[in-house]
């Protein structure tokens, strides 16, 4: 009986201890350490990123700092993610407003969904806003892109070098080529119809008047001459660039990439 009581005590204590701990585990989606965003912007961005997190099933985090005195953007982003109670699957965009650098760190499913190509793509997409100092606009764009990227990855094929997000130019190009092929086929169809309206022409052959069975083959052979082998290098379109990973100070595996603006 005493043993049962003491066991219960331990359970209660552990639960009591873990309660605040659990609360701490829930990291904030928006951390504006640089003070670059207004309170309203933090508010609306938080609700947007929370929504994206709920939808995608991974944590989507936005962090601002002014700059770093020591260490790299990669180390800071990885550690920030690891030590602030975010889940095992996620993505974090770190912007250093005065150093004018950005870094994206991914973890777990985030590594799968955001390939090296994908991270650079997001960086390129938000660069115009970053250059203008429109931090809020950059984060909004980042949130929307995250939604797209994870949705595509859940379909089975993350955006990568072999499965790029389509730009308008790509779509226009495909449209033009499709139209060209369509017109070519239609032209052949139309010309063949037209030729049916002009059926009067000289006959090239006299096959109707061949005496059946009159063909006598006198000589007939098929001689093999030679073989020519040509080879072309395969363009490897099957696999994309994928995601490269490294280990952070906490020992967990991260993907990531960044640049300056």
């Amino acid at each position: 009986m005493k043993k049962v009581l003491s066991f219960l005590m331990v359970v209660i204590i552990i639960s009591a201890l873990s309660l605040p701990f659990a609360a701490a585990e829930k990291g904030q989606p928006v951390v504006d350490d640089a003070g670059a965003l207004t309170a309203e912007q933090v508010q609306s961005l938080s609700s947007q990123l929370t929504e994206v997190s709920n939808e995608t099933g991974i944590d989507v985090v936005a962090v601002t700092i002014t700059g770093l005195e020591s260490g790299t953007m990669m180390e800071y982003a990885d550690d920030y993610y690891d030590y602030n109670g975010y889940s095992e699957d996620g993505i974090l965009l770190l912007i250093a407003t005065q150093d004018r650098k950005w870094w994206i760190s991914t973890k777990g499913y985030g590594i799968t969904a955001f390939t090296d190509w994908g991270i650079q793509y997001i960086g390129d997409e938000i660069k115009p806003e970053l250059k203008k100092g429109d931090w809020y606009g950059a984060f909004v764009k980042y949130g929307n892109l995250c939604k797209d990227f994870v949705a595509e990855a859940r379909k089975g094929k993350p955006y990568d070098t072999n499965h790029k997000i389509e730009s308008m130019t790509d779509k226009l190009f495909r449209g033009a080529v499709s139209l060209g092929i369509g017109m070519l086929i239609s032209l052949i169809v139309v010309l063949s119809i037209r030729s049916k309206y002009k059926p009067v022409r000289l006959k090239a052959e006299a096959n109707d008047y061949l005496v059946q069975g009159s063909l006598k083959l006198k000589e007939s052979y098929d001689h093999f001459l030679y073989t020519h082998v040509s080879r072309t290098e395969r363009s490897d379109n099957d696999s994309g660039g994928g995601s490269s990973t490294h280990t952070s100070s906490s020992g967990s595996s991260h993907g990531g990439g960044g640049g300056s603006f």
Partner: protein
């Protein structure tokens, strides 16, 4: 000088026609039918006027060069004494006054007498119906053409044809290839094997028809082929009654090159057909075709010519009077065709766009 000739009904004296449906001579007045052979006696008499001693080796042209000088192209109808004007090649026509069919027998006797004739099997009405069906089946003909196309003239003509028999010795060498592709992790391979293929053989062609009338367009006549020679009968002028007929004005010598060209193409096609290995490509490198021409025959083949008029433009159709095959060039509605082109282009483009997007090809 050519004689003018009518076939009279022994019962009522009316002028009789050859009836395509009954395949007999038929009097349009009393409906009496006769076998064309019943008139054979009359035909015999015709032939006696100029003995039947034709040889194709002889220059047929010489004879009617003489004729041409004194060629009288005006004949007197035996029924109504009206004047019938016919051009120098007409061998059968009808009197413009009384409508009686007449045969200008002198134009088809002697060296000019055909060896065979394929009698008409399709009537004027069938030809008209076939034209209607032909035009209405063409969806891209202008609507106006379908509605306003007027049949101006319909003529049943026995067209003179030269029939050539040819034996050929043909030899063709080809370069043929087979292609095999495979790939490993680094490369795609294409292996092309080359073969020297040779075929030599002989074959025979019979009764290749060549239009012997300069008035009939060659392409139109070749488009309504084939004619089935097995249904040809020995020529009798009685078959011409009720139809028009021309005598040849293109000589055998002038026609034979056309026949030989067709034989050459056919010989090559037949030899090509004996290559049964599934090569990926077969290209003829050199070919030689020796043609030995046998004797040529002279025959009259039945053709319906239908002339129509639309917006002042003439359209000519021809129907094979034996098989019923009708052919002729038609105008095309450019707007309809363009609408099809535009619609099809867009439709295909959309489909191709999505297929490309789905497969990631573009």
């Amino acid at each position: 000088m050519a004689d003018i000739f009518e076939y009279k009904c022994p019962c009522c004296g009316g002028a009789v026609n050859f009836d395509a449906t009954a395949q007999k001579m038929k009097c349009p007045y009393c409906d009496t039918e006769f076998d064309p052979n019943a008139f054979i006696k009359k035909d015999k008499r015709l032939e006696e006027q100029e003995p039947d001693n034709f040889k194709w080796d002889e220059k047929a042209g010489q004879e009617w060069d003489d004729n041409e000088e004194g060629q009288m192209n005006v004949f007197v109808c035996q029924s109504c004494a009206g004047e019938i004007v016919a051009d120098e090649n007409t061998a059968a026509t009808e009197c413009p006054y009384c409508g009686n069919p007449v045969v200008l027998s002198g134009r088809l006797s002697g060296t000019l007498k055909p060896d065979y004739v394929i009698p008409f099997k399709h009537t004027k009405e069938q030809a008209k119906d076939e034209l209607k069906r032909y035009v209405s089946s063409k969806k891209f003909a202008p609507k106006k053409f379908k509605q306003e196309n007027r049949l101006e003239e319909i003529k049943g003509i026995y067209v003179p044809f030269w029939l050539f028999d040819s034996d050929t010795d043909a030899a063709v060498s080809y370069e043929a290839t087979t292609v095999r592709t495979w790939s490993d992790s680094k490369y795609n391979y294409t292996e092309t094997s080359f073969f020297d293929v040779y075929r030599a053989g002989s074959m025979s062609f019979v009764n290749i028809p060549c239009d012997g009338s300069s008035q009939m367009p060659d392409d139109l006549m070749e488009s309504i082929e084939p004619f089935d020679f097995s249904e040809a009968v020995d020529f009798q002028t009685a078959y011409l009654a009720g139809y028009l007929a021309d005598k040849y004005d293109v000589t055998m010598e002038d026609s034979i090159e056309r026949a030989n060209n067709r034989v050459r193409t056919s010989s090559e096609q037949v030899l090509r057909g004996t290559i049964d290995y599934p090569y990926h490509s077969v290209i003829a490198k050199s070919s030689s075709v020796q043609i030995t021409n046998g004797k040529a025959k002279y025959a009259l083949y039945p053709v319906w010519i239908l002339n129509t008029d639309h917006n002042g433009k003439k359209y000519t159709f021809a129907m094979n009077g034996q098989s019923g095959k009708l052919i002729g060039d038609l105008p095309v509605d450019g707007k309809k065709l363009f609408a099809l082109f535009a619609g099809l282009s867009v439709g295909l483009a959309v489909i191709i766009y999505f297929i490309a997007a789905f497969t990631g090809l573009l």
